[in-house]
Amino acid sequence: MVNLTINGKKISVPEGTTIMEAASKNGIQIPRLCYLPNIHEVGSCRICVVEVEGAKTLQASCIAKVAEGMVVTTNSPRVRKARKILYQLIISDHAKDCLGCARSQSCELQQLGKTLGVESQYFEGKPQKQHLDKSLAITKDSSKCILCRRCVTICNEIQGVGVINPQNRGFATVIEPAAELPLDSVNCSMCGQCTVVCPVNALKETDGIEQVWDALGNKSKRVVVLTAPAVRVAIAEEFGCEAGTVATGKLVSALRALGFDDVFDTNWAADLTIVEEGTEFLGRIKAALKGGKAVLPMITSCSPGWIKYIEHTFPAQLAHLSTCKSPHMMFGALAKSYYAEKINTAPEDIFVVSVMPCTAKKFEINRPEMQNGGLPNVDAVITTRELAAMINEAGIDFMNLEDSEFDAPLGFSTGAADIFGLTGGVMEAALRTVYELVTGRELPFPNLHVSPLIGLDMVKEASFKIENPLEEYKFLDGLEIRVAVTSGLKGAKQLLRQIEEGLSPYHFIEVMGCPGGCITGGGQPRSTDPDVRVKRMKGLLKEDEGKRIRKSHENPFIISLYEEFLGHPNGSKSHELLHTHYTPRGIYNEYLTKTVGV
């Protein structure tokens, strides 16, 4: 332990603690701007400076470590003055149109001004040049950027993509791709992780709200909404609740109150995805064991940020991807065929809106592969954050809504679908189904959880032996199935390198583009709470465990879907509607016929 004094108070903390942590553990808050625990800890803004006795200069408390006998003052006149000046410099060239800014009231810069007690502006700087880059999923407005570099850290260090970096120097510095190319033309995965950490309105999702209001106002459209698993454990945070609060019932009521004609659940399609993907996996294993051609490991394909990433970074490995569309795309294809028939409505009169924790889905719905009969499978995507904004705009008192249930038939789901929103969840859901199909017995793990695959580590793996399979799966007897799970693109790179070198020991890999899975997707509520992932994870596990049915293939509405419409899994109708192919892009889009960028 190290003994020191902060603001006259004697304290003792473990070695290696930063001054900021030491202070906060003892009830002293130090103002900060760029610091984000576990994500951005490099001290670029210096707002957190404190006075350390004996040190000539003020110290950035988010990086300076405690030392024995240190005497720290966090709020001396010198410190307060320095912070104010730093703040004034930051805002001197900021486009300060708070009244017309979407981040007003949820802006860390605005909040900091209040904390520091800043009342007037000392420096009149020229506002930074306005450069609005509106890609299909991400909108970047450099006139709002305060160069805190959180996005740079997340894109380079955590996601390992490295699309954006500071370019130029001094007042000309901008956070941009090389040659200031637009995001749509470079290898951005559209994961949106940068939009979650941006403290101001410089990075956000590209607006989908207008389109949805228009559809809701159009009397000739039947507007169908579906919501992803991760939304239900996060949306309540936007209304002041603790992270991980499960608010499924209120969410459904809010969507109804907004005027959607059908309130369905992406989970229903997640169950369907498991049946399709599980069947595809068994097909590949069978082909491989019988000496045929089969590409293994098979890799999941439900995360569109991951898909765009692999198309850019490993264009030669696309055959490893499952051909399954992501659940909401499967849903859209069926809403405009199976469901349209059921309700006797022309597919072109159905407007499908997905509420997603994800920004990359905004890109995905624009892919030419994601159409059937000339109609896009899904018409609009809004993020969890955008849905909260719509609920506020409509004057709905979310926290006081009664709970209600999803509509049938595309609203019923099993527990396996809930965990789709969580790293390891798709794999676990698939194994629950595959194992039982093959052996006729339940997956032999306590409470159906494949424990090594649960948790937030970057790469996780598990293996188990197939024993005593059913007659038709005799060829699998004794096979040790090896699976791996990763979330975040850095982990994906690691597993793909292994595949490239021919060293991958796995049969099946799950990849989610965002660290932790969809629970911390690029469209989720922003939070500076480092435990937010754990809390949302627990929320989803609770949802799963509370379900009556917890295995996708037992979903009665999926069984009837096959009976009434699709025939059998991986059949010709499935292939037409539910499966897709991928586009080699290359880091510089060099494999696209129409080359964009450099």
Binding site: V161, P166, Q167, N168, R169, P177, A178, V186, I587, V598
Partner: protein
């Protein structure tokens, strides 16, 4: 990891290809050194003369770095240039003394005869035309610099003779 396969951009002239090969060797030499990027870029610019985006891309690929990181470094340091530079750097002092005592005229004249704007490089890549910082020779204004050579009390008449010295 095995040897990195060197992939050169398509459509390089023989001379360019030769330079790229040299740069590939530089990269090979410095690949495993900590903080190597600036050094490699520096040497690459010496070989190539400037840092076009294609060359940045080549270096990024060889080092397994992202292009935006490399271009971030190139655009940060003023000694890197993304446009081709002339064989010689011609700088006119625009300190107040030089400016009023003929510097302005020199700039206008040079723009005409060299057919290039300040900051640009002549068609034949002979000169890159820039502004010089005051070199403290205000008493002998106007001054110009070509590479490391300082010329004082330059007139338009003298200028043509000076330029002729750099004809090849």
């Amino acid at each position: 990891m095995g040897e990195k396969i060197v992939k050169y951009p398509d459509s390089l002239t023989e001379e360019e290809r030769h330079k790229y090969e040299q740069i590939a060797n530089i990269i090979d030499l410095y690949r495993d050194k900590e903080g190597n990027l600036i050094q490699i870029l520096h040497l690459a610019q010496q070989v190539y003369g400037y840092m076009p985006i294609e060359l940045q891309r080549f270096i990024a690929e060889q080092l397994d770095k992202s292009l935006s990181e490399v271009s971030g470094v190139v655009t940060f340091y003023s000694f890197f240039s993304t446009k081709p530079r002339g064989k010689h750097t011609l700088r006119v002092c625009l300190g107040t003394a030089c400016y009023v005592r003929g510097g302005k005229k020199l700039v206008e004249h040079l723009q005409k005869v060299l057919n290039v704007e300040l900051g640009g490089t002549t068609e034949d890549r002979r000169f890159t035309f820039e502004v010089a910082r005051c070199i403290g020779a205000c008493g002998l204004a106007p001054t110009i610099m070509i590479d490391d050579e300082v010329y004082k009390q330059v007139t338009i008449q003298k200028l043509d003779a000076i330029l002729a010295k750099y004809a090849n």
